[in-house]
């Protein structure tokens, strides 16, 4: 009897918990469904009743959004992200290697200096950085965003890699040194291959940052050809002209890549994002 009572209580609790979780799912999913629904309507349909179904689903809105420059913004985001991540990983791994494996005098101070960069926010540097970028003639070039992205992401990435490098057993290196390997050979023949998982995590966290970054891109870029997706989406918002459904379609398409990437590479994503715990 008592066992049965416990079982009933357990079933009741399970249902309650699932109910709670499903309500949360609805809160998350409903805005997205609304977005999807309205991206298939005409502007007039949306303004008459935004929660009604479209008379005819208009997938051409998506095509229009794509043709309105989204393709170009995607390409630009890809190039910017690739350049930034290559730079971040290259410089951070060299830095982390230099600070952990080579017993350089002053390593401790340099570590603190670089790590301190983690606490400094982008906004605080904004005005001087803007003047600097202009003085260097980088304004409205891809490097105007790539260089600050690299600089602002090195501290965190170095920190992530450093703790991993510290865990690599010294014996591997010692054997290599006996074989006459140089420090650089050790770096790219031993340290980097072993660190592949952490490099992948670092790449993903930084991708999420660079892909979605808005503040710097908004100020340092002017040319549509250079604009990344977050910036490109803003150009969909006209002042006197109103094509909302196309904009909604654009938001939908623009959000897909990261979500799809997450669904395909959940493990790396979670490891990457949780190892650093730094919100974009």
């Amino acid at each position: 009897m008592e066992n049965n009572h416990g079982k009933n209580k357990r079933i009741f609790m399970t249902i309650l918990v699932h109910l709670f979780l499903i309500i949360l799912v609805l809160i998350i999913v409903l805005p997205m469904c609304w977005l999807f629904l309205n991206s298939l309507k005409t502007n007039q349909e949306m303004f008459r009743d935004s929660i009604a179904l479209p008379a005819v689903p208009r997938f051409e809105n998506w095509i229009n959004a794509w043709n309105k420059g989204l393709y170009n913004y995607f390409l630009s985001s890809l190039i910017t992200s690739a350049m930034s991540i290559a730079g971040i990983l290259l410089l951070s791994s060299l830095l982390a290697y230099g600070l952990t494996r080579l017993n350089l005098p002053g390593s401790g101070i340099f570590f603190i200096i670089v790590l301190g960069g983690m606490a400094l926010s982008e906004q605080v540097a904004l005005v001087p950085l803007f003047k600097m970028i202009q003085a260097l003639g980088l304004y409205n070039t891809r490097l105007a965003v790539v260089l600050p992205y690299i600089a602002f992401r090195i501290p965190f990435t170095m920190f992530l890699l450093r703790s991993y490098f510290l865990g690599i057993p010294k014996e591997l290196e010692e054997a290599a040194i006996l074989d006459g390997a140089t420090t650089l050979q050790i770096f790219y023949r031993i340290v980097l291959p072993i660190s592949r998982p952490v490099l992948a995590s670092a790449a993903i966290v930084n991708l999420n940052f660079v892909w979605n970054e808005f503040l710097f891109a908004n100020i340092f870029l002017e040319d549509r050809k250079l604009m990344t997706i977050p910036l490109g989406l803003m150009t969909f918002q006209g002042d006197l002209k109103s094509d909302y459904v196309t904009m909604l379609a654009g938001i939908l398409i623009a959000s897909m890549p990261m979500v799809i990437m997450y669904l395909c590479m959940q493990k790396q994503f979670v490891r990457g994002l949780t190892s650093g715990a730094v919100k974009g």
Binding site: V29, I113, L126, P128, I154, N212, P230, V270, K279
Partner: protein
């Protein structure tokens, strides 16, 4: 191995160190200098005004509004993202959820992958008084009396923006906490079950204390994030209506690039700097004491 220092080995650290110094430290120091001058973006003249920018910042009518809004964002985010996010993580890790665990986790996590501008633009529509989802929904369920102007309402605007952030990031914090809970050794949990501890007791006396460090890290990220708030407001209300949803980050931006007042922007930057660095030092202290 060898005692002798190879100076060439410094070449490993110089490029990275240089980047951080040149693009992070130098601008931040320059910013402090700028905060004592009056300067605009298109004019090359700089006029030394001592502390006048700070005086104008601290005495402006908008100042208390901004600080209040940043604090609202901070406190609500702590309660919802960290507090409620932890509860979600605990529920998801409990045995009651079973195989659906991964599904829930992913759904909650997905909003954090969407860019802030996309989320901002989307919620601009959701909150729209006539064509938006929220008012449409209230009408559909027969509660038109509850309809609001949302982002256009002086009292509601900042809370609408805060709600949007909770929508986006609660799942992210929940995910961080789940990973921390998964690192809790099964031995403790089994011992507690043998002791007859119920799920709530287990959560309070085992999970939370053992994931304390992660909880603190999450709190600090959230708090610092609250004082860096910018894109969420920029893409929705731009600080309006009036200055009801103004925040420090946007105030800085608008002064620098809209109101030709880069000195004031720099002063605001220094304030954000002081706040965030103080909080980071607290974070460092706490995590260190946690390790000891």
């Amino acid at each position: 191995m060898k005692k002798k220092v190879k100076w060439s080995n410094y070449l490993y650290i110089i490029p990275g160190l240089f980047m951080v110094l040149a693009f992070v430290y130098v601008p931040i120091i320059t910013n402090v200098v700028y905060s004592f001058f009056r300067l605009s973006s298109y004019s090359s003249s700089m006029k030394f005004v001592a502390l006048d920018n700070y005086r104008r910042l601290f005495t402006s009518d908008t100042f208390p509004v901004m600080i209040r809004n940043n604090i609202y964002y901070c406190v609500i985010s702590l309660i919802v993202q960290v507090g409620f996010g932890t509860v979600i993580a605990l529920v998801l890790e409990s045995k009651l959820v079973g195989r659906m665990n991964a599904f829930y986790r992913s759904v909650y996590f997905i909003p954090s992958l969407i860019s802030l501008t996309a989320v901002g633009l989307m919620f601009n529509f959701i909150y729209n008084p006539t064509a938006g989802m929220l008012n449409g929904f209230l009408k559909a369920i027969g509660q038109p009396g509850l309809q609001q102007i949302w982002l256009g309402d002086r009292k509601l605007a900042i809370f609408c923006i805060i709600a949007m952030s909770q929508w986006q990031y609660t799942g992210y914090i929940a995910m961080l906490m789940i990973v921390a809970f998964q690192n809790v050794s099964m031995d403790y949990i089994e011992a507690a079950i043998i002791d007859g501890a119920g799920p709530i007791r287990r959560a309070i006396s085992i999970y939370i204390p053992l994931a304390k460090e992660q909880l603190l890290v999450c709190s600090i990220i959230t708090v610092i994030g609250a004082f860096k708030l910018f894109t969420e407001v920029y893409t929705t209300t731009s600080g309006g209506p009036g200055d009801a949803s103004q925040v420090l980050g946007l105030f800085l931006y608008q002064n620098a690039f809209l109101h030709d007042d880069m000195g004031m922007a720099a002063a605001t930057g220094v304030l954000i700097f002081v706040i965030t660095v103080t909080l980071s030092i607290i974070q460092l202290r706490i995590t260190r004491s946690g390790q000891d």
